[in-house]
């Protein structure tokens, strides 16, 4: 039950993102930011299960299978958790910096996964640039989204 508020808020954020994607080609991808939140602020013992839920949510809203997304989100969240002691997590600058690094990691993981795993992202000519643009575009929103999640105390 400790994961439920996070699950619901993540679902709403991903839903809003997908709705925006219907209206415009330019749409930030908040998925990696949710993984950053888990890495920086969630209790360490809850990170893995929350990443699993995040991957499943993303799998439901995306065309990619959930399993690679679970591994990608878990990797990003664990990397951010490792940085937790090195940065001042309340600072917006730190949040931007960590989000930027995590986003870069996410895009690399995604690219590698699309090559070695049965994912369709390698299919189009402009898929990866669009994904990268959406993911890096979301970094601007990092302090706002991380602040909102912390304000609502969604855990986990």
């Amino acid at each position: 039950m400790v994961h439920l508020p996070f699950l619901l808020l993540a679902a709403v954020l991903l839903y809003v993102q997908a709705t925006l994607a219907r209206l415009s080609d330019v749409c930030p991808d908040v998925g990696p930011l949710l993984a950053v939140y888990l890495g920086l602020y969630a209790r360490r013992e809850n990170v893995a299960i929350a990443a699993l839920l995040l991957g499943l949510l993303r799998g439901a809203i995306d065309l990619e299978p959930a399993a690679p997304m679970i591994l990608i989100y878990l990797g990003v969240a664990k990397a951010c958790a490792a940085m937790r002691e090195m940065v001042y997590t309340d600072s917006a600058v730190s949040q931007w910096a960590v989000s930027f690094a995590a986003t870069a990691l996410y895009v690399i993981f995604y690219r590698v996964a699309s090559i070695v795993l049965p994912m369709g992202a390698a299919g189009g000519e402009n898929l990866m640039p669009r994904l990268a643009a959406a993911t890096f575009g979301a970094v601007i929103l990092a302090p706002g989204i991380l602040g909102l999640l912390r304000l609502l105390r969604v855990g986990p």
Partner: protein, 452 residues
């Protein structure tokens, strides 16, 4: 004293993900995420209701209901023109036979065989000739419930009577066309009546074999084209022996439908053969941000089923679990579409690959297209009925432009208020390649299902 040892959750999660990635993993493990589609559906309901209210207030509440009548007429005329062309060969060379149009359900690229579907109201039998226009496609080798497996002259170990007419329309040289187990779709020439009379590029046709076969034995109508003769260059490089091959007159992978000939006495009650389509709730927002896809909830969702909204094909169900399904959109990049192109004067099959998606448009590269045809602005694109649960000639869109050899089409997101349907073939067998062992036999005396 050490605390209670806990199994690390991270290891369990990684283990779960790796297990779900294995090809032999059970379906529910691989598609567990589909359960969350129901969660998105709950969030989605008020948005769809608001969308509908806005559409109604604007007076365009029926905007997503269907295609304009003029467009429907163009589609119907184009398909009818194509069907007439498909039938023309059998009607010309075997006027005693009746013909029916059967959609091509699946193509076995390796063994060069087809599964065709004429509908449960049509009784196909072993030996029925199959043609596309004046080109012979093959003959039925297994049939049941309107479905049939077709062996082509290029199938492995196939034996077909063939012949070529010598220059000036002289004497016909008959031989046996023997399907090769090669990657190229070429058939070998064996036992020719006169080897020295064979010349490269001669047209190969179905010969008259009345002097060789007893009356009533299944045979293809004489006169249909098979392909062209060519020398086997590979063998010629290593030996002085001249081996002849038959190159097919058409690419069977492109065909969206074929004509099947049968005796006039046979039961023939063609009609809609897709089950009364199951309405499914189209989720407004559960769409992939950078790909073309969506999620559906509803009953009767089956893998491979075509999803149609407002009379347009929007995709095919990739995975389904517990009343939720993931649909791969028709314009998802990397996807190859077998289509029928309808021009103002003509209709022809083609294969297009989606290369780019963005800005409300999709760019498609023609991968295979008849050499004498060209796709032009304004042409209609209709999807072939590949897969058991997909009718043929579903409207995909109109060609907006052709740039650098690529076809540009509008890739609209489906209207969430539009009526959405999922198709299901009546009496579909578990394995389309075993039509005789179908899971559910339709009652031949019952009228075919509505819809479709």
């Amino acid at each position: 004293m050490a605390g209670k040892a806990r199994f690390p959750a991270g290891v369990a999660v990684v283990g779960f993900a790796l297990l779900a990635l294995t090809p032999t993993a059970p379906g529910f493990l691989r598609d567990l995420d589909l359960v969350f589609v129901h969660l998105f559906r709950v969030i989605d309901l008020p948005i769809v209701a608001a969308h509908r209210a806005v559409a109604n207030s604007r007076g365009d509440g029926n905007a997503g209901e269907g295609l304009p009548a003029e467009l429907r007429t163009r589609i119907r005329d184009g398909v009818a023109r194509w069907d007439r062309l498909l039938r023309s060969g059998i009607e010309r060379y075997a006027p005693e036979l009746r013909t029916t149009i059967a959609r091509v359900v699946a193509v076995d690229r390796l063994r060069r065989r087809l599964v065709i579907d004429a509908g449960p109201g049509v009784e196909l039998r072993v030996g029925d000739p199959v043609a596309a226009g004046d080109v012979a496609v093959g003959r039925v080798i297994e049939a049941g419930g309107g479905l049939a497996v077709v062996e082509t002259p290029w199938s492995r170990d196939a034996r077909f009577a063939a012949g070529c007419v010598t220059a000036g329309g002289g004497e016909q040289i008959r031989f046996v066309s023997r399907g090769l187990a090669r990657r190229e779709s070429l058939a070998a020439v064996s036992n020719p009546e006169r080897r020295e009379g064979l010349v490269a590029d001669y047209e190969v046709i179905v010969p008259n074999v009345d002097d060789l076969l007893p009356p009533g034995a299944p045979r293809l109508p004489p006169g249909l084209r098979l392909g062209r003769l060519e020398l086997d260059e590979r063998i010629l490089r290593i030996s002085a022996e001249h081996l002849w091959l038959v190159r097919p007159a058409l690419d069977i992978e492109l065909l969206d439908a074929v004509a099947v000939g049968f005796e006039a006495s046979r039961r023939h009650a063609p009609g809609p053969y897709f089950e009364d389509v199951a309405p499914a709730a189209l989720s407004c927002a559960a769409l992939s941000p950078w790909r073309d896809g969506l999620a559906l909830t509803g009953k009767g969702l089956e893998k491979g089923a075509a999803v149609v909204a407002a009379d347009r094909l929007i995709g095919t169900i990739e995975d389904a679990l517990l009343g939720a399904a993931r649909v791969r959109g028709v314009f998802d990049p990397g996807q190859r579409l077998t289509v029928l192109i309808v021009t103002p004067r003509d209709a022809f099959p083609a294969e297009l690959e989606v290369r780019r998606l963005g800005g409300g448009f999709a760019e498609l590269q023609p991968v295979a297209i008849p050499s004498d045809k060209q796709i032009e602005e304004g042409d209609l694109v209709l999807a072939a009925g590949r897969g058991m649960h997909r009718p043929r000639a579903l409207y995909v869109g109109e060609v907006e432009a052709v740039r650098d050899g690529r076809v540009v089409m509008a890739a609209r997101r489906p209207d969430p208020t539009a009526r959405t349907f999922v198709f299901r073939r009546v009496g579909a067998p578990a394995d389309p390649w075993r039509p005789a062992r179908r899971a559910e036999l339709p009652d031949p005396s019952a009228p075919p299902g509505g819809g479709g």
